[in-house]
Symmetry: C2
Subunit: 166 residues, 2 copies
């Protein structure tokens, strides 16, 4: 893309995208959730050029999504482990998984989410944490939050629900 920076945008989606970096970063995070920790494991899984992998791992460490741990001093070898911030990215991966299975897997699902205790396939759905109601476009709208600056307030002017957010 030769991306311009989204960092000065207030939009939390843009900020998230900037922090994740590039597609490779998302696949690295996916592999970290699969339990991979070492440079050569990621490289083998992703078939990615070493210099690119180094760059993406460094960026993920810098953004606080992965932590580097030295597991061997001579020669120096590091492991990469998910931080809490990295772990909190899991819903994004699961949403991508669902969307991919629904729309781009004509042969059927290759990767699924299972309930570990029952082994049953799970369909992850987004609900309102407080009420359990399914999130839908009709009933749940995005709106300017308390910290919104003027551009974001303008964007949502007229689209907010009648009742003010509390």
């Amino acid at each position: 893309m030769q991306r311009k920076s989204f960092g000065n945008m207030q939009c939390p989606i843009a900020r998230s995208l900037e922090r994740v970096g590039e597609w490779w970063s998302i696949l690295i995070l996916r592999d970290a959730f699969y339990g991979l920790t070492r440079f050569d494991e990621f490289q083998k899984s992703l078939d990615i050029a070493p210099n690119m992998l180094t760059r993406r791992l460094n960026a993920l460490v810098e953004e606080g999504l992965l932590e580097r741990h030295l597991y061997c001093e001579k020669p120096p070898r590091s492991e990469y482990r998910l931080t809490q911030r990295g772990r909190d990215f899991r819903p994004v991966l699961l949403a991508l998984l669902e969307w991919g299975n629904k729309h781009f897997a004509p042969e059927g699902a290759s990767v699924v989410l299972l309930d570990a205790s029952t082994g049953k396939k799970v369909e992850p759905v987004l609900v309102d944490g407080a009420t359990g109601k399914r999130i839908s476009e009709a009933e749940h709208v995005m709106a300017a939050g308390p910290a919104a600056g003027e551009p974001i307030q303008r964007r949502f002017a007229g689209t907010a629900p009648r009742t003010a957010p509390r």
Copy 2:
């Protein structure tokens, strides 16, 4: 990134990423959910180069996420509207929104999700659609699905829960 194609990978996350294209595409989809439909609206919102915007819109139409509608014949002008496939991408955007608000908004949330009928702020959480149980790393694991080829089966060998998926 000068991305190599992930299309021949079986992983649904990789396939999703390939279909979305680039960060710009996700921000275009976000704006489409905000109700923008016209070229100049996207351009103004995103401050993106016209040739880049044309390319991203064309790609999103090609991948079936947006539909092009001619709203003016002379001069020819098109609107871009979300398809069902595009609308199904919303959980990914909401997951990115949550993650951004949690980790990259030290000043507070600038964009929030509201219950349109009550105006209350909503925390979207992923649950098992069948049982309502919150999705967690401890209790919900990714595993090879029925259509998994050998590489994906190998990746998950030994990590699957004891009970077979049904």
